[in-house]
């Protein structure tokens, strides 16, 4: 894309999320969400094939519908309460409708259908922006308005997200779809803990963003988008293959890596509130996610598939992709667990 147009569009993408996160008035929050949606479309359509166009169209349709529902919810709230503040949506129709709209924007079940298709249809970098940056604005709104919503709806959607994220990702060989289902599953975890302790939602969001950014950047650097290309990664960059292994284990929530921190604290918080069956179900369903991450790890790091001898020695070209932030991100996504007491800074 033309650098001037790209910088304008990225600036507006940033501005949209920041406006939503900084606003206390529903209209400005909605305006920021619309800015996000509109400027995301040319980013998703950066490549010129019909698949990207279709993915951008699907993204636009679902997000526009969610924005419409959100606008209706906040006008209903205005009609019954006469004020526009985000934290005081006392009318149940308005708050539940806004909840459903924001869940559609986040891509949590039962409104998750657009996530795998849109993530698969675009390149790795727009997919990365879609799964990480676009979660910030709706979650900041959910964080503020969740106290007045029906918590049963939040638990239902969260559990369903974890189930669908787990089972949906099992039959996938394309890495972008696997990461999309992983995103759905993590949204489920974030939603469930929202009525109990919203700080843990933010913690989970932070660690999830770090992990997803690491994985996407490793995949971008090695040009792998499917499991078959993963099997050849050991030859190109053995170091990144090992880092992919540890980062995927962290994404699955395995101790002693960072991904274990939010899951552990969430289960702790849920059991402190006398809820036993739900964290049990969540923890068991997270194993489904772990299974297909293990499959990726098996095919990338633990096995070398049979190949001819000349494929075992590749000519090392210079890497043209920038890896500036990658070592920091990988370190953060693997080794943050001893810093768990520092979560008090998120409150």
């Amino acid at each position: 894309m033309n650098p001037l147009a790209l910088s304008l569009i990225l600036t507006t993408l940033l501005a949209g999320t920041l406006i939503t996160m900084m606003s206390s008035h529903w209209l400005t929050a909605w305006m920021g969400l619309e800015m996000n949606m509109l400027t995301m479309i040319p980013i998703l359509m950066k490549t010129t094939n019909p698949r990207s166009t279709e993915a951008a169209t699907k993204y636009f349709m679902t997000q526009a519908m969610a924005s419409m529902m959100l606008m209706m919810a906040l006008t209903i709230n205005l009609m019954y309460s006469g004020q526009w503040s985000i934290t005081k949506m006392t009318n149940p129709v308005a708050s539940n409708m806004a909840l459903m709209a924001l869940m559609t924007k986040l891509g949590s079940a039962p409104f998750h259908f657009w996530v795998p298709e849109v993530t698969q249809g675009v390149e790795l970098t727009p997919g990365m922006i879609l799964l990480t940056w676009q979660k910030l604005a709706p979650l900041s709104l959910l964080y503020q308005m969740a106290t007045y919503t029906n918590t049963n709806l939040i638990y239902l959607s969260g559990l369903l997200s974890i189930l669908i994220g787990g089972w949906g990702g099992l039959n996938q060989t394309q890495l972008r779809k696997i990461l999309a289902y992983s995103s759905i599953s993590h949204m489920g975890w974030m939603l469930i803990i929202l009525p109990f302790n919203p700080t843990l939602t933010l913690l989970n969001l932070t660690i999830y963003i770090m992990l997803t950014l690491s994985i996407f950047m490793i995949l971008t650097n090695t040009f792998t988008t499917s499991m078959s290309s993963l099997t050849l990664m050991w030859n190109k960059t053995p170091a990144m293959t090992i880092m992919l292994m540890t980062t995927l284990l962290s994404l699955g929530g395995l101790p002693p890596l960072s991904g274990f921190m939010p899951k552990w604290l969430m289960i702790h918080e849920l059991t402190k509130n006398n809820s036993i069956i739900m964290p049990l179900t969540m923890a068991i369903m997270a194993l489904l996610n772990m299974y297909f991450y293990m499959r990726l790890i098996y095919y990338s790091s633990l096995t070398i598939l049979p190949s001819t001898n000349n494929m075992k020695m590749t000519w090392r070209f210079t890497n043209t992709k920038h890896t500036m932030t990658l070592p920091t991100l990988i370190t953060l996504s693997n080794m943050l667990l001893p810093l768990t007491p520092m979560i008090s800074m998120l409150e």
Binding site: M1, A5, L8, I9, T12, A15, I19, L27, T28, M31, E34, M35, L38, T39, I41, P42, M45, T48, N49, P50, T53, A56
Partner: protein
């Protein structure tokens, strides 16, 4: 004529059904014009004469005219109308049926229809820092956009500007 605003909003929804059933954009544009005019009528019936005329001018006179001209450039030989395709007709009839059910539900309930207050836009409100200045609410809304809501206006203008860039990027050489 007590129910004029109600009738106009029902016809507004019917107009929306008319283009949501996806005929050709030529007929969709006509349906949008009808809905836009009725929407303006709803605002005027609620007392907001200024805002209704703004809707007519900007929406119908600006947006729809440009939309109509672009459709006229991209029209096809046999545009799909509501009666030509059974899918479009079916969608239109389903939408109409839902609207009829909703009206029946509205008239069957215990609450009376006149409970909706349709005059909210002709109230007087206080605008300005010092003194008591009573102005009409719809005028003051338009004026507040330029004074208190300056950043809203700035963001709206910025987004219109960025939308041009987005539209140009989207309609570049793609398949």
């Amino acid at each position: 004529m007590m129910y004029i605003v109600f009738i106009m909003s029902v016809l507004y929804v019917v107009g929306f059904i008319g283009f949501s059933s996806k005929p050709s954009p030529v007929y969709g544009g006509m349906s949008l014009v009808v809905s836009g005019g009725l929407g303006c009528g709803i605002i005027m019936g609620s007392g907001g004469s200024f805002l209704g005329l703004v809707v007519f001018l900007v929406y119908l006179g600006g947006m729809m005219v440009v939309f109509g001209y672009t459709i006229a450039m991209a029209t096809e030989e046999y545009p799909e109308t509501w009666g030509s395709n059974v899918v479009v007709l079916g969608a239109f009839l389903v939408g109409l049926l839902m609207e009829v059910f909703m009206i029946m539900w509205l008239f069957s309930g215990e609450h009376e229809l006149m409970g909706f207050y349709f005059g909210g836009l002709e109230d007087l409100m206080v605008l300005g820092e010092e003194g008591f200045e009573y102005v009409r609410e719809d005028y003051s809304g338009g004026a507040s956009l330029y004074s208190y809501g300056f950043w809203f206006l700035a963001m709206a203008g910025w987004m219109l500007f960025v939308s041009i860039f987005i539209a140009i990027e989207v309609t570049r050489k793609r398949y």
